[in-house]
């Protein structure tokens, strides 16, 4: 498996025959992993509940939000997917928009390549669940001596999944049984993207990419109308970015150390 460091960590573990069984390593890692996730729980509760209530308020069956939470498992993209489920059957558009909205995850993967190396059978689960919050927690994390870091990563990934899907389920099922007029609560999705846009805007020196997104989308909305603008907008954004590459690519195509390791703040801001 991994280099000597792991053996040293194993040596430091409490002595005794049962100390290093799989179950014992898992159990030792859990409290540490759980403590790491606590600061994010309020955020998961708010976003998960909002998402669940939103999905129900726009007329989706209550199973849709939790199902998307475990299958798509990417907050912002799930809001868009929920919205698209209320319109016509367009799986290719949905595929394209989710792919582009989640493009940032590519860098989480690259950034975690070394850390996740040697995770064995946990690798697939860690990859599947590498959401913004999990990346933000695991990327800078150092497991204490005697604690199996792969179990810590796995617990953090799993706990975040449970929080997100759990709160989404509670939100959608509670809202579906609530005798309250929820008309207008779907504004929460507009509010979400305004907030993310603002955070992104305030964190960047160069606003051209943000403006390209906004401008191309507006132009396509005017040209194609509300039902058909999404795919042309996505394609024209990619086309514009490629056309303006010389101007926009400040890393000068060096592969960019900056590009391959997004900061924790960026990860959290991106939800």
């Amino acid at each position: 498996m991994d280099e000597p460091r792991d053996r040293i960590e194993a040596d430091a573990a409490p002595p005794g025959g049962a100390a290093d069984t799989r179950r014992a390593r898992a159990a030792r890692a859990f409290p540490f992993a759980f403590r790491q996730t606590l600061p994010l729980m309020a955020g998961f509760a708010f976003c998960g509940l909002s998402y669940g209530v939103y999905a129900t308020s726009i007329g989706l069956p209550p199973w849709a939000a939790p199902l998307m939470a475990v299958s798509i498992f990417a907050g912002s993209a799930e809001f868009v997917a929920a919205d698209m489920l209320t319109a016509s059957f367009t799986p290719l558009s949905l595929f394209l928009v989710v792919l582009m909205v989640n493009a940032r995850h590519l860098f989480y993967g690259i950034s975690m390549l070394e850390k996740y190396r040697g995770a064995g059978r946990k690798t697939a689960f860690l990859r599947y669940g590498l959401i913004d919050e999990t990346f933000a927690l695991c990327q800078p994390l150092e497991a204490p001596r005697g604690v199996d870091r792969f179990w810590v990563y796995a617990w953090i990934t799993g706990l975040n999944l449970v929080y997100w899907a759990g709160f989404a389920a509670v939100g959608s099922y509670v809202a579906s049984g609530l005798p309250v007029d929820l008309t207008g609560i779907d504004f929460i999705m507009k509010a979400l993207f305004i907030v993310i846009f603002l955070d992104c805007w305030m964190g960047e020196d160069d606003h051209r990419a943000s403006l390209i997104g906004l401008g191309a989308a507006l132009a396509c909305l005017v040209a194609f109308g509300s039902d058909g603008f999404l795919v042309p907008a996505l394609l024209s954004i990619v086309a514009l970015l490629l056309l303006l590459r010389k101007q926009l690519d400040r890393e000068g195509g060096e592969g960019g150390a900056n590009a391959s390791s997004p900061t924790e703040a960026e990860a959290e801001q991106a939800l």
Binding site: A42, P61, A77, G109, I110, I194, F197, S260, A270
Partner: protein, 111 residues
């Protein structure tokens, strides 16, 4: 949309997400081996997406008729104001949404 169509849509979204999470593992084993165009797009795409998604959210709002988007724009202004003031995501979202729900029940009732 039927339940089956919904499941196909959800599967398409799940596949797209998993591609972004597995691409580095399967195709681009190191930052150096990732094609420059992919690295570049991955760097600039995220910023463009939030603007696109705002337009997407407001796509069915009509500035030329009805209340000329007054309730949406007022509530959006509340979101922006709260966020510039406190920088608290939950507060900005709850504040703006409550204002919107209040506006469409009082000043700008839906037809």
């Amino acid at each position: 949309m039927s339940a089956l169509e919904m499941l196909v849509m959800i599967a398409a979204g799940a596949l797209a997400t998993q591609i972004t999470r597995w691409a580095s593992f399967l195709a681009f084993p190191t930052a150096e081996k990732t094609p420059k165009a992919v690295t570049y797009l991955g760097t600039v795409l995220p910023a463009t997406m939030w603007g696109l998604l705002i337009v997407y959210c407001f796509r069915t709002s009509d500035p030329l008729s009805g209340y000329h988007m007054a309730p949406e724009l007022l509530a959006a202004a509340v979101v922006v104001g709260l966020h510039l003031w406190k920088r608290n995501m939950s507060l900005s979202m709850i504040g703006g949404t409550l204002v919107y729900m209040l506006l469409i029940r009082t000043v700008f009732p839906l037809a």
